[in-house]
């Protein structure tokens, strides 16, 4: 089943087409990789999907609903959550509080029941807290729950962000370079986590530069270059695709020069 469909999506910054006529699908129960050289338009694409930015043209459908004009909170409520390339945690809040904020859509107690401390509110707070703790445990953050987010290591911060996104019980998870700043062991563990989440029914769109990580988790890969899709398919097929090789080689040559 197709979960996310991009149909000829385009976004310009001034004269630059950061995302140009991009079409692809992400399947339910699959991890889709989104790769490409620096500046290819990957993050821009994630912003478009999560509603932080709107495409100039084209359509984005999530579970058979056009979402490209919806505000970000509506998109999240439909079941899309994300992380950020440059970590954007709520710095002075504790790791656990960050996760609990991510559970916003999971609660429904109103201001009045909170103000009067009604039983419904208290039960809900307890439930949210327990779930947040479980999530923290699952991501290996159990011992940092009360640490302010900005006091955590880079890798831990990334995991708090992932936990915060998962807290919304999304159907589709968007990850922007989740392993950046993680060591090899952390990266491997994250890969396992993503696979186990997939087995529980979660779909994900993962931006990554680490090709072995992509090979570990992705069922399917989309390659972007200069805002356009230049290849898609299984990891192996894409790796040996001459246009992809040329795109990455071009980047290395540019870097060498």
């Amino acid at each position: 089943m197709t979960m996310l469909t991009l149909n000829r999506v385009t976004r310009y910054f001034g004269g630059l087409a950061a995302v140009n006529d991009v079409s692809f699908e992400a399947e339910a129960n699959q991890i889709t990789g989104l790769i490409g050289p620096n500046g290819a338009g990957k993050t821009t694409l994630l912003n478009l999907i999560s509603g932080l930015d709107q495409p100039a043209s084209g359509e984005i459908r999530f579970m058979d609903r056009a979402i490209q004009k919806l505000p970000p909170h509506k998109i999240n409520q439909l079941g899309i959550a994300r992380t950020y390339q440059n970590i954007r945690l709520f710095a002075e809040m504790s790791a656990l509080d960050n996760i609990i904020v991510g559970m916003h859509t999971q609660g429904k107690a109103g201001l009045l029941s909170a103000a009067l401390s009604l039983p419904g509110y208290r039960a809900e707070e307890k439930r949210l807290r327990e779930q947040a703790l479980q999530l923290a445990e699952r991501l290996g953050l159990g011992s940092f729950c009360n640490t302010p987010a900005d006091a955590l290591s880079y890798g831990d911060q990334r995991r708090v962000e992932i936990a915060r996104a998962l807290a919304a019980h999304p159907k589709l998870l968007l990850l922007d370079e989740p392993t950046a700043g993680m060591n090899a062991a952390e990266t491997a563990r994250l890969g396992e986590l993503i696979l186990s989440l997939r087995d529980e029914g979660l779909a994900a769109l993962v931006i990554e530069h680490d090709m072995s990580f992509i090979a570990q988790v992705c069922d399917h890969v989309v390659v972007l270059n200069f805002g356009e899709v230049i290849a898609r398919g299984t990891v192996d097929a894409v790796k040996s695709d001459p246009t992809v090789v040329a795109a990455y080689l071009g980047e290395e040559e540019a870097a060498d020069a």
Partner: protein, 291 residues
Amino acid sequence: MNIFSEFWATYGSVVQFALINMLLGISIYFTLYTGLLSLANAGFMGIGAYVSAALTIHAGTPFPVSLLVGALSAALIGWLLGLPVLRLRDVYLAIATLGFGEIVRITAVNFDKFSGLTLLGGAQGLDGIPKLTTPVSLLFVLFILCIFLVQLHRSRAGRALAAIRRDESVAATMGIDVYQYKLLAFVLGAFVAGLAGGFSAHLTRFVGPNDFSFSAAVNILAFAVLGGTLHWSGALVGAAILTILPEALRFMKEYRGIVNGVILVLVIIYLPHGLVNPKWIRGIFRRKEAR
């Protein structure tokens, strides 16, 4: 006369002003806590003051009713103003709310003339308002408000407000309807400012159109900025200091304006979180728990 009643005879009104200013500090705390600079609170205070005073004088309603209707009117106007202006971002919001006190003034001055009624007293203002504000009523309302704030910060809504202040777009991608929560903070602030206005009118026994100008808005801002906007108790501390110090130090009374201005600049530059830092508060509680 015992010591207490002597003290009260001299300082009773200062204490009550301090309590009213605490209400005002809290009123702007709601918006600052959400990361919004709104300068409309003096205007909301004016609405609360005028409406409650007019009710008491002309309709003879009991004080709590006047007070509540005044505050609700301020909240309603706050909602109407907030609907459009909260779509605006930082600087633009400050600009849009800056002139609101002026609108309240113009309305107050011209209301009777245009409506043909004698309700608000035009440029002269309303005097002869019965003195119904008591320290007990003020303390009671403040107490309820503090409980509300404690609960708010432990609730989903409170977390959403805190998230919006820190990163609005991240908050939005976590399912938080940023606009609605901003509106909530704005309206809560208007309500509390309206309450403060009602208390103040029934304490000074007078409401004038010039009491809710830009400089009144700045005073209110100074309460919250001095105390700090990361924890609600900051607004109380700031209001208490800025009300009581000028009484204690004569030179401060004369130069009150300068002192407020200097405090705003210095605190923002050297003490950006204000006097009350929630980390210390949490530290105190943790130590208690450990015992």
